[in-house]
């Protein structure tokens, strides 16, 4: 908070968050302007005050307790000394980074009949101009005044009574706010939307499930596309050079009963590349055609430029829930590499086009079928991280399988449409690891083993650190080059969030929601 600025009358007193600033997020490492830190999905902080020599001295600077017992999944956004967080179900709070004290609060009253599969959660806000944007669990997109929290506009995205909700952190690109939808367990028709940032008017909608007569409808038996789901509940990436938005899509509906929807089921479990101005599809890549295990491709795409097969190319890395880590050409969508990074038993490999070669007998059955990875996947919505310093891709990998059950699937609007279920494998040890992957080959450079499969993202920093967290409540820091544990702290509750880092009054902090509180750490 720069006091001095206020005295130069005539200057723009408040530096607004422009698209220009979002594009050049690396140039202001003290801020964290967008969900993944930059448009490329790196979740990397160029800050190095906290580094491998002093990380052992990390300690809390302040803690903010959320007054909600839902999972606390937010990634804070920091703009010039002010932190913006979302809290479950759809609240927003602006915090002073110097003291941790709230500057304003937006508290949204919530209906009693919200329909969600997995908690009334929210993963964060977007900022653009002098507005803060939040998607709500009752499927609205709301713009708040960044200085007061007052509602500037409130647009209905969908009818929550039909099982649609918003949990994703929106992405501000150019003059638009891109927001996805959740509801993959409710037989919804999925889509990705872009709204005019100033007015909240719909700019475009891309349907992730076809309508009758669309060519993709042929990838769904009969009229099964009508309840095809393919939700879009994790924030994507953007490349200004291709002008494409890269966004993952979720499972086809019903989750575990594939019989009612024979075919590849486009565009479920895909990475979509959409023109950000028009929403037109440039290319798509489907990771898990005809998915029957609920392996949403709703992970964060990571954009890097690197040499592969002897040629420097624009790539997108995608460590998928289905246990394969993929490398695609992000201009064309061409498949370049794919390799398992955790135990999997459903495919013998990928063919030249990247299509899985399936193992017979891995579909869910009434008696139950054991398959690795588990229904929560080898990875999930929580973020990976790419460090341009080490050149490694960091993933919180889950080593677990599930028993998958086949069941009947009768669609009723607003009710779950699953067609089966799952449970953990009796007697099987589940575990996890932070893995550092060589991005273009998928080889494991190192791993740091964890007691249970993690469900929290990672942050890498120029201080040669990787931050992550456990189910048992600890946040920890590893040496980014070796994986050696340097620091850990018990935050007192299950962690379901992503770490980030920023400067306040010139000092570096690392923030992460642990349990139901947001912790901010520093080295004194």
């Amino acid at each position: 908070m720069k006091l001095v600025i206020a005295f130069f009358v005539g200057l723009p007193l408040l530096a607004q968050v422009t698209h220009e600033r979002l594009l050049n997020a690396e140039k202001e490492p003290g801020n964290w302007l967008t969900y993944s830190g930059n448009f490329a999905g790196h979740r990397f902080s160029p800050l190095q005050q906290i580094n491998d020599t002093n990380a052992s001295q990390l300690q809390p600077a302040w803690v903010y307790q959320s007054n909600s017992l839902q999972k606390f999944e937010t990634t804070p956004i920091v703009v010039d000394g002010v932190m913006y967080i979302s809290e479950a179900p759809s609240h927003v709070t602006a915090l002073d980074t110097k003291t941790g004290r709230p500057l304003w609060k937006y508290r949204r009253p919530m209906a009693d009949d919200i329909r969600v599969c997995c908690g009334q959660v929210n993963r964060g806000v977007a900022v653009l101009g002098d507005l803060v944007y939040v998607g709500t669990i009752d499927a609205h997109l709301v713009a708040l005044d960044a200085k007061t929290g007052a509602v500037r506009w409130d647009t209905t995205v969908a009818d929550y009574r039909a099982g649609l909700s918003i949990t994703v952190a929106p992405l501000a690109v150019k003059d638009k706010i891109v927001v996805g939808i959740a509801g993959g367990e409710y037989g919804i028709r999925g889509f990705l939307d872009a709204y005019d940032a100033k007015t909240g008017k719909l700019a475009w909608r891309f349907w992730t499930v076809p309508a009758a007569g669309d060519p993709e409808a042929k990838t769904w038996a009969g009229e099964s596309y009508k309840n095809g789901s393919a939700a879009t509940w994790v924030t994507g990436a953007y490349d200004p050079e291709t002008n494409l938005l890269y966004w993952g899509t979720g499972n086809p509906g019903p989750d575990w009963n594939g019989e009612v929807r024979a075919g590849d089921n486009l565009y479920s479990d895909c990475l979509l590349a959409l023109d950000v101005d028009t929403g037109k599809l440039k290319w798509y890549f489907q990771f898990t055609p005809h998915d029957v295990h609920d392996w949403d491709a709703t992970e964060v795409p990571v954009l890097i430029d690197a040499e592969i097969r002897g040629q420097k190319r624009k790539l997108v890395l995608f460590p998928n829930r289905n246990a394969f880590s993929y490398v695609l050409d992000r201009t064309t969508g061409q498949f370049l590499m794919g390799r398992p990074y955790a135990k999997q038993t459903w495919a013998t490999g990928l063919d030249d086009s990247g299509r899985p070669i399936r193992v017979a007998g891995t579909s869910p059955t009434v008696a139950g079928t054991r398959v690795w990875p588990s229904v929560a996947g080898a990875n999930n919505w929580y973020s990976p991280s790419f460090s341009p310093k080490t050149g490694l891709l960091y993933v919180a990998a889950r080593e677990a399988g599930s028993v998958y059950f086949f069941g009947k699937a009768d669609f009723k609007a607003g009710e779950q449409y699953n067609g089966g279920g799952f449970r953990s494998i009796p007697g099987e040890e589940e575990w996890g690891a932070i893995r550092a992957l060589k991005p273009t080959t998928g080889e494991v450079a190192w791993e740091h083993r964890l007691f249970t499969p993690p469900y929290a993202g990672v942050l890498s920093t120029a201080g040669n650190l990787v931050f992550g967290a456990t189910n048992e409540g600890q946040i920890f820091a590893l040496n980014a080059a070796t994986g050696k544990l340097l620091w850990r702290f018990q935050g007192g509750g299950l962690v379901r969030s992503n770490p980030m880092s920023y400067l306040s009054e010139g000092k570096q902090y690392v923030a992460m929601a642990l349990g139901n509180s947001l912790y901010v750490f520093h080295v004194r």
Binding site: A6, R101, P109, C118, K147, A150, W153, G184, N471
Partner: protein, 253 residues
């Protein structure tokens, strides 16, 4: 993403009270008890007929945040967090009885607030200049609280009194603050937060300031509002129309 339910290590949702979907206490005896409870505990803010005051107008056919009985129960029991609507420690039966009476307020359809809302809007945007200081939807200033949805939060009489004479009731937590730091800088603004060791404010331009008290040489904090009185600036009709307009302002939803 469906996988939460069966795995032990995942947190269970917050305790949902095992509440009946419909109010189980709605006899005429319940209503009579509910009325007494209401008069004692709610009428001070919501008015004896529920037409609102400092609290919202409850004499409406559908309460925006309590359309169903369970939500109404919860609001009475726990209040609305971060607003002036308090929770209450009445027992379950008393809460249901109060709820039954609150519902009855809505069935005697309260007369809409009299006045020409179109003219009210003209006054607000023109002569009165309310939007210099107040946000309304996608426009307006930041010095005062947002007027978006004000009609759902405050009753007509309260609005009228506030506009005519803002000093009559200034929000308990409202403070205008002037700070002089030890190194000689001065900042003036609305207090956003304060504790033993720090204070946060927003100046007229909208910039945030956070100061440790040890940095401060002088701190003047007053409960005086900066909102001008409109008693003499607006005539009776204009004030009536303005209140009618604000009472009909129920927000984006």
């Amino acid at each position: 993403m469906f996988w939460l339910a069966t795995l032990l290590l995942f947190q269970t949702p917050p305790p949902v009270l095992d509440l009946p979907a419909r109010n189980p206490h709605t006899t005429s005896a319940d209503l009579a008890d509910g009325k007494q409870l209401y008069q004692g505990r709610c009428a001070g803010c919501h008015g004896p007929e529920g037409s609102g005051g400092k609290g919202a107008n409850l004499a409406v056919p559908v309460l925006p945040r309590a359309a169903d009985d369970r939500s109404l129960y919860r609001i009475i029991r726990y209040g609305l967090p971060d607003t002036e609507m308090p929770g209450s420690l009445m027992d379950a039966r008393e809460i249901w009885q109060t709820a039954a009476f609150v519902r009855s307020l809505g069935s005697v359809s309260a007369a809409p607030v009299a006045g020409d809302t179109r003219n009210g809007e003209r006054v607000l945007r023109g002569k009165a200049g309310c939007l210099q200081c107040h946000a309304l939807g996608n426009e307006g200033g930041r010095a005062g609280p947002s007027l978006t949805g004000i009609g759902a939060r405050r009753g007509a009489a309260h609005l009228r009194a506030k506009i005519a004479d803002p000093a009559s009731e200034v929000h308990e937590s409202f403070r205008m603050v002037q700070v002089t730091t030890r190194d000689g800088r001065t900042v003036r603004g609305t207090r956003l937060n304060e504790d033993s060791w720090s204070i946060q404010l927003r100046d007229a331009a909208g910039a945030f300031h956070s100061l440790w008290k040890e940095e401060i040489a002088k701190l003047v904090s007053e409960r005086r509002t900066t909102m001008p009185p409109y008693r003499d600036r607006l005539n009776e009709q204009e004030l009536t129309d303005l209140v009618a307009y604000l009472s009909a302002e129920r927000g984006a939803q």
